[in-house]
Amino acid sequence: MFNNPTSTNPFRVGLGSRTVPEPCSIVIFGASGDLTRRKLIPALYNLSASGNLPPGVRVIGFARRDKTTEQFRSEMEEATRTFSRRSVDDKLWANFASNVYYFRGDFHIRQSYIDLDRYLSELETSQGFPPRRLFYLSASPDEFPCILNNLRETGLNKIHESNWPRIVLEKPFGNDLASARKLNELVLEVFRESQTFRIDHYLGKETAQNILVLRFANKIFESVWNANYIDHVQISACESLGIGGRAGYYDKAGALRDMVQNHLLQFVCLTAMEPPSDLSPDSIRDEKVKVLRALRPIVGNDVALYTVRAQYTAGRVEGQPVFGYRQETGIPTDSSTETYTALRLDIDNWRWSGVPFFLRTGKRLPKNATEIAIHFKAVPPVLFRSSALDLEENVLVIRIQPDEGASLRIAVKRPGPTVTIEPVKMDFHYRTSFGSVSPDAYERLLLDVMANDSTLFARRDEVEEAWRFVDGIRNAWDQGICKLLFYSAGSWGPEEADRLIAKHGTFWRRL
């Protein structure tokens, strides 16, 4: 185990409840990209401005374009002023920017990495900090093998005494099980699993983290969190946006790979997992993997029964006319990529036997809403016979975004001489109960990487198990087992999705 100097600092003892990140060099491969401007640098600045970065954290942008450190700092300042969740303080920016550098290099040229090593060493030596390096791969996944190989061949992956390298990978982690395995094998030839952090930014959101707290810190929920009491679960991730500037990536990926394989299956895991024995990263991830392994495979002809795939056509979203998917810039006019998918999942274990999980995600839907809804079983229709048909079951909803919070639907008697039962909602909103604006998910995740806490990151077996499940569906789709449907932009998806859930005697929640 490495010696973390912030953890041995006696003045840090008792000051905060979380591990303080270690001084290190953060090298961003792909520093010219959108992610660096919009998310990474603003997140690092916010960490610095809130006093959460220790002195000695340096940020090095690695990219091919010819520019100076001063130009890079200036670009990043402009980006941070645009995208930061808090206003930029000139003096704090100057302090942060004095530790931001630009290194011109080519992913494909080995000498660039040798020069990078020398450059980092000079920076570290000049400030008296050992070479602890965090390599953030914010480049196209096609470049990952090249970057990883060069890191290995130039020894930048080597561990010396108390020094460490770590690697952060942005999704997608492959595009099927085979490519994910190949990528993981390559990553693990270069870095250990304990040094590898696969980012799923949904897991950095407060409400995603709150799922475990809600489940395991409240006796009332966990005791009914099983097939005895729960009828089904609905997980929705709906977007009104189209594909933006991601046509090239999205048309190869589609909704199944872009959303289900990672974000939605992570939500399934957090909702369905058994209580971990402790809150250590591996205890939590062990339980999540067990859920993935218990997913009943959907393969062959079952795919037509349990999945729906569709693509949006022209329509109106929020009153504005929008193109159909095939008319979007960069999309082939005969593309068969799905922009919507709905699935029924079954988890074959004791807790969830007979409880279907319905998942849906899509683009160009009427609104943005990501949430998990736990639908409890109805009470026996004995006491309130005359009202029984109208009795609505309890529903616990965990809203991931926007309007983060949770609500519980309960039945109450309407005042009056007759027993008329009405559903009412007990609603908790983060924004009305807690004043402070939640930090961006990247702030939390970057802090965790620097502090070597991998709880909110996907482990190799999680990623591969998720791909194993998704591949079965994908392969059947590719064989034409489930035909591509169409829905108008601005609608809630194809009718077949309604029929999918109607077979269970229910319907999609109105979001």
Binding site: P54, L92, V437
Partner: protein
């Protein structure tokens, strides 16, 4: 005096407080959710502080959804009566103009005026009007009376006070003595009691402690700790107690304690080695500088008046880190109270520091 006493809100019969508050929320739009995280109760016998407390509540309630109750006692009144004023407010804030960043905090305020003999039962009346099952924070910003009602601690989850405002720190600490002792017993594992002690004077020092701690994040800096020999703290004349708390915290962290005979002029390590301790009164921020010096290095935190940052400087042959700045956070009472409320009130370091220094105050 009574003509001058005009709290904000609607005056209601004391027996109608809950009904009237509920009526205020009825008919509100769907987007206005009443939320409540805690009960915030303040007690004072100084009528002149009405505006101060109301302003404090208003500020807190822009950030923190709570039921705030101000109990004002007037023992020398000719009448024996309780009067009540209520209000319910929603504070809307829209950061960056985006809908997602839009926040709306909705809270309630109750002001109670106890006159004459009703003052003696103020706790029972106030505690009957709490939002049930939520924590009770008792805010006490003046000196403590010689004897505190021991029954108070059966209900109070957090006692928030500000030792920087005390006119007689020794006497107030003496009043708090039993509860400090009981909390220390909790801390050392003897038992679990309800009331947490939250000294805003200590909370105000938190940014100073964070910034100062960052000076020791490298192995080279930590290597200097065993050879410290000098500590100098510059503080404003009104904040000598804060300076002692800060010195006590440093002593605790480097395993020293105030020298028993030195009258705050030296710390002594477990092995008997002495560190010279110098306090310098200087107008300006609470602490304008703190410098810790070892045989071969020095570590200094500087805070210039009205500057929004700490400047930090570590010098030594093995220490190469350039000077840097760390963020400073506002020190106004409202801001500090908000920070304290967000920290949930458990302060073992404060108790340990108090245990170390209270005999020297």
């Amino acid at each position: 005096m009574q003509e001058l006493f005009s709290p904000p809100g609607i005056q209601v019969e004391p027996s109608q407080i809950e009904i009237s508050l509920n009526r205020m929320w009825e008919g509100e739009g769907e987007n206005r959710a009443k939320a409540c995280l805690l009960n915030l109760v303040a007690f004072t016998e100084n009528l002149d502080l009405l505006d101060k407390y109301v302003n404090l509540f208003n500020k807190v309630q822009t950030e923190f959804a709570c039921r705030a109750i101000l109990a004002i006692a007037q023992r020398n009144s000719q009448q024996d009566q309780i009067r009540a004023w209520i209000s319910a407010n929603c504070h809307i804030e829209n950061n960056f103009g985006s809908e997602e960043a839009h926040r709306q905090i909705c809270s309630e305020q109750i002001i109670l005026h106890f006159e004459g003999e009703t003052v003696d039962g103020w706790e029972n009346f106030v505690f009957a009007h709490l939002d049930s099952d939520l924590p009770l924070v008792l805010l006490w910003l003046e000196d403590f009376p010689h004897e505190l009602n021991p029954n108070l601690w059966r209900y109070v989850d957090r006692l928030v006070f500000d030792s920087s405002k005390w006119t007689q720190p020794g006497a107030s600490f003496f009043s708090l003595g039993p509860i400090i002792n009981s909390r220390l017993q909790d801390l050392y594992g003897c038992m679990r009691r309800r009331t947490h002690l939250c000294d805003l004077n200590w909370t105000r020092l938190l940014p100073y402690r964070f910034a100062f701690a960052s000076l020791f994040d490298s192995e080279a800096a930590q290597a200097e700790i065993p050879s410290f020999r000098y500590l100098e703290i510059h503080h404003s004349p009104q904040h000598s107690l804060a300076a002692k708390l800060f010195a006590g915290w440093i002593a605790l962290r480097i395993q020293c304690q105030p020298h028993p005979d030195s009258n705050w002029k030296a710390l002594v390590t477990r092995s008997g080695r002495e560190l010279q301790l110098v306090f310098v009164e200087k107008d300006g921020p609470i602490l304008s500088s703190c410098e810790l010096v070892s045989e071969s290095a020095s570590f200094r935190l500087t805070k210039k008046d009205k500057d929004g940052h700490f400047e930090l400087c570590a010098k030594g042959s093995e220490i190469l880190i350039p000077d840097y700045v760390q963020p400073f956070f506002p020190e106004e009472d409202e801001e500090v109270l908000l920070r304290e409320l967000a920290r949930r009130g458990y302060h073992p370091l404060y108790l340990q520091t108090m245990d170390l220094i209270r005999n020297f105050i």
